[in-house]
Symmetry: C2
Subunit: 291 residues, 2 copies
């Protein structure tokens, strides 16, 4: 376990030469599941923290930035999402945000590792508040298999909340998986996937965009700030089977929902697609934008 | 010195419980100046790094984000800046960016600590390329004194590239200093100052904005991503003595300059003023916006 002198430090395989650390108050859980190393600790200043294979997935202090942006960008870019599929997302954060959309009638969630859901519920993470939602069907299996088998044009929105492409989430970055997701989308459906960090993985991002450029009619990249993810930001690949202006919300949160949101707003939605010049040069060459 | 087992870690006084570390290849310089602890090292993956009082100021890999945004937001929000004052900025990065503006005729720079300029030049930092610019007048003294004495309505743009408000830069966050800067601005002049991080110091930011709300006619807050600054972002307080839409560029970079810029673009300028919902709620109450 990478805890030394009361500090947890991230492994650095995907970001050599840099390291982010959080002060640990108490280790609450540490076991190997069938898929990965699962660590939960109480931090000194970031609330409870969930770590998978040495990489921070959730801190209660900043998780809302990631959960809100990865969820509400595709959900508000769609004019009337009824059926939503969540891939991964075992901590429940994406589920919590999807559940805010009253128009959504069914939420399928495919998380390969039941231990992630179990610890999130057991330790009452801020993310784990909607597992009791009656619209939810939760299954534990490999999402690549699930989407291939069950995906049949029924989902208006698919959200992929995966870990990095090293470990159990590797297949979720492959072109075959994007093709399966396309087949699982309803006409004009939208997919949004965890898309790594512009500052660290621009080549990987460009590779993913190139590999699914022929799969989707609209294809964009957006990002959010996220202090406890490597280099402080994370991005999203957003695609649709129709000509859609993904960077402009088709709907807006009502007053009650807007008040509950801590990161997302219609203005933040639009600006998430405005990339720094160095990234814009790479992404604009492969993006498929309609506005 | 906070280097252990080949890794430099930041001090955490202003961000308890979290720590960012860079792998060190070689320490190039470490001395105490009359004002602060000055450390220069070659990092494994971020180029050369300048550290003042234990806090990272410059890494060659990402410095352009900070330098470009803090410079070009006020310089492009102004229709024709001729005289520019840089406060601090001893590494030369802001100077390098100001020098790109052909319309600028005079650049005054007041950096209290000559050692910062000296090491930046000696170790050939990527930031230190414009110290030979004939438009530059460089003085080493306390900027609070300098601006109070010499400021007489002559500057179109003032840029404050300071360290944090703990240490030699403390006075640069005080209302008296903002008042001195106002007196040093030409009619409709613009000031932009290093304004800490929304994720860490929202109260401090709101306090600074409140304390200079009566000083400026227009007052805004913008931010940029910046991986090696605490929590991965840093913001700017931007003010003007006139009713100005600071979030919209009054000019745009020409094609040659646009090609050289790695972070700033007119679209990035506009989106830098779009704040996450949690920050927007705080800032919108004190901001003075004209659009």
């Amino acid at each position: 376990m990478s805890i030394t002198n009361g500090w947890f430090s991230e492994v650095e395989a995907m970001w050599p030469g840099q390291k982010f650390s959080l002060q640990v108050e108490k280790v609450l859980f540490h076991e190997k599941s069938d898929f990965q190393d699962v660590l939960v600790f109480q931090s000194a200043t970031y609330g409870k923290v969930l770590v998978l294979d040495g990489v921070i997935q959730v801190t209660e202090r900043d998780e809302f930035a990631y959960q809100e942006m990865l969820t509400h960008i595709p959900c508000f870019a769609h004019p009337h999402p009824k059926r939503v599929l969540i891939v991964g997302g075992g901590d429940g954060g994406i589920l919590r945000e999807v559940a805010r959309h009253a128009c959504v009638e069914n939420i399928d969630m495919c998380e390969i590792d039941p231990m992630v859901c179990d610890v999130s519920k057991k330790f009452e993470f801020s993310t784990a508040t909607a597992f009791g939602d009656p619209r939810l069907r939760l299954v534990h299996e490999d999402a690549a298999e699930f989407v291939k088998r069950e995906g049949n044009g029924q989902y208006d929105v698919i959200i992929v909340d995966s870990s990095d492409p090293v470990g159990p989430a590797e297949t979720l970055f492959k072109p075959e998986f994007f093709l399966s997701m396309k087949n699982a989308l309803s006409p004009g459906g939208i997919v949004a996937t965890q898309g790594e960090c512009l500052w660290l993985h621009l080549k990987l991002i460009r590779g993913v965009l190139e590999s699914c450029a022929s799969t989707f009619t609209s294809l964009e990249y957006a990002f959010t700030t996220m202090p406890t993810y490597p280099s402080g930001q994370i991005g999203f690949v957003v695609g649709s089977t129709a000509e859609r202006d993904l960077s402009t919300p088709a709907r807006e949160p009502d007053a009650a929902m807007a008040q509950d949101l801590r990161y997302y707003s219609p203005a933040v939605h639009r600006s998430a697609f405005v990339l720094p010049a160095f990234a814009e040069r790479e992404v604009s060459a492969v993006r498929k934008r309609f506005s």
